[in-house]
Amino acid sequence: MNKSLRRLSFPYLLWILIFTVVPLLLVAFFALTAYDSNGSLYFTLDGFKNVFGGDTVAFSFLGLSVQLPLYINVFIRSLLIAMVCTLLCLLLGYPAAWIMAKMEIEHRRGSNILLFLLVMPMWMNALLRTYAWLALLEPKGIVNNFLGLFGLGPVQFLYNDFGIGLGMVYNYLPFMVLPIYSVLVKISPSLLEAAADLGADPRRVMLKVVLPMSRPGILSGINMVLMPAMTTFLIPDLLGGGRYLLIGNAIERQYMVSRDYTTGSALSIVLLIFVLLSMQIVARNTDPDADEGGLVA
């Protein structure tokens, strides 16, 4: 194409410099500096010291209890919750995506409206939808009233890991279903028939053909669920009754409540490095040309 058109990319190069590269460098910059009493900046490692040191809090997992620094504790807890939530999204979402894809493949109908219904809730504000779970899950809420009919409960769903996990699965499930569906739906029906003709029972077809073929979709789904689940501060804020500290809240509090930009930025940098590293692992497993592709694998 005409070389003069390259000039059109120059404003964009400037744009990504200002709005992508510089802001991220600024986070690193603020992580290593602080304001003294005169309002001038000086170099400091306090931010990182706060992240890796400071008060210790007991961390219990599988009956094991260790004293860990506050933020490390919070970090590990966030990661664990996010991983469990991603796994649940996958276990719940994969069958749904497969059923929908099969409808499309076998009957070429039905799945449009289902897909549409899957995306539709996103048009209602996510905060409100999450908040509505409170009404459902309260001790005297709708779910417990329903359980009460069978003489069960009341169960304390809220303000604990369960409530937060549920909020996450609820919010991120569509992001798991969509990419998996978009891969599954491309599987040619003749391929499945061929496998069956060659003697594979449905279980083997699933394990040996469908599952391996849907790997890019699964990875993309994990990508779209794990990171948001780990960094959200809304869900623990709303469903944890304001008394639940995950890494997202911890960072948000540093900026908006404590006004300690140094520690907040240090936490952000640690989080970002962690996320980029784990993305790298996932990216290595996806298509090599993915960097130029669309948004969904």
Partner: protein, 383 residues
């Protein structure tokens, strides 16, 4: 592929159709009075309202103001946070604002308020409850002395213990140790309510331990933190704000921290549910928190006459009564006190007497307090 245009069309059309919705404003020759108040903090309904057995006819007092003062047109806006209100002051000019006392202190210090012309506030002069002069609004003595020159109390409220009398018996004492002890009692595991805000929680712990609500002493704060962590583990309080009220009504919670205004709401809901409202009682311990929302006029107000008329109108007995019934917080208007149900006004927990009043503290906000409180709150949250 061309059909995709149809997707966008309706979306943008909807967006554009909704736009004027937000912008319609009738203009007239009347002078505008810009009032900036908390949300849900003024009588705006035409219902009749039964309050402790007495029935009151409410009305939209904003419309009434415009009827009483035809030369003025009220532009009424609401906020939900003192800091947000503060930020808006620089870019927008309001005639009356109604922030909490610590924000008033800050505004006076920054020279952003004008002194009120009391000769035009005849209702205020006549009806303002003298006990409002006893409150210690600020640690700063000069400001404390002159705060009423700048600001007129609108409503006030206290932080106390709401409790179920049938379960706990009557609590007569106002000693913070006696009052708050139920909050830390393992017997009531899962039946205690706490607000999720930092100052209310740490404040209650400090008050229980006999310290100031604005303490910056490291040992005292450490003790408060340990107490709260222990409470969280052993008592497992239910946290929230608004949802707590229904839980007191249903009997799910037996006691908890409450603003005085919330207690009246709980009693009304009990009454509406056909139950005895006196089951849930409220007690205000010494040294607890009081907060006062105050009407004031910013320096850059455009319509000072209108502002004074509005402030004065809010102290009109009929108007103040409607607001008091609607809002449910403690009214600073003496005539209103005579017309409100006696069970309410004779209750020292709502309308504290001078001795109790003198022990109450406002929440001070300084860099040191903010930082220290936030640190212990963070550790508390992670536990």
């Amino acid at each position: 592929m061309k059909k995709q245009v149809k997707w966008l069309g309706p979306l943008l059309a909807a967006a554009i159709l909704l736009l004027p919705l937000a912008g319609c404003q009738s203009s007239g020759k009347r002078q505008k009075v810009y009032v900036y108040n908390w949300g849900e903090y003024i009588s705006d309904s035409d219902d009749s309202f039964t309050f402790y057995g007495q029935t009151y006819q409410l009305s939209d007092v904003r419309k009434d103001f415009e009827a009483a003062y035809p030369q003025y047109q009220l532009e009424y806006q609401t906020f939900d946070d003192n800091e947000k209100m503060y930020a808006k002051l620089d870019t927008q000019s309001y005639d009356v604002i109604i922030p909490s006392e610590y924000m008033v202190t800050r505004l006076i210090r920054e020279d952003k308020l004008q002194k009120l012309d009391y000769s035009q506030l005849t209702n205020v002069e006549q009806y303002m409850d003298p006990r409002l002069k006893e409150i210690r609004y600020s640690e700063d003595d000069t400001i404390n002395q002159e705060i009423l020159d700048y600001a007129v109390p609108y409503f006030y409220c206290t932080v106390g213990l709401i409790y179920n009398q049938e379960v706990l018996g009557t609590i007569d004492s106002t000693d913070p140790q006696d009052v708050w002890s139920v909050l830390f009692d393992q017997t009531y595991n899962g039946q205690i309510g706490m607000y999720n805000s930092m100052r209310e929680s740490i404040g209650v712990a400090l008050n229980y331990l006999g310290y100031s609500l604005n303490s910056v002493d490291a040992d005292q704060l450490e003790a408060a933190k340990t107490l709260l962590i222990k409470q969280r583990k052993e008592v497992q309080p239910i946290v929230g704000v608004d949802e707590l009220k229904d839980k007191y009504v249903s009997g799910e919670l037996v006691a908890g921290v409450a603003w005085s205004g919330d207690h009246t709401v709980v009693q009304q809901r009990l009454e509406a549910a056909g139950e005895d409202p006196d089951v849930m009682q409220y007690v205000l311990p010494e040294g607890s928190n009081i907060s006062v929302d105050m009407m004031c006029i910013p320096k850059n107000a455009q319509n000072v006459e209108g502002a004074l008329a509005f402030i004065n109108y809010m102290y009109d007995t009929e108007v103040a009564l409607k607001n008091a019934v609607y809002v449910g917080y403690s009214s600073p208007q003496t005539e209103v006190l005579k017309q409100l149900p006696e069970v309410l006004t004779s209750n020292v927990n709502y309308y504290p007497d001078e001795t109790l009043l003198k022990t109450l503290e406002v929440y001070e906000s300084t860099d040191e307090i903010d930082k220290k409180y936030d640190e212990i709150w963070q550790v508390y949250l992670a536990n």
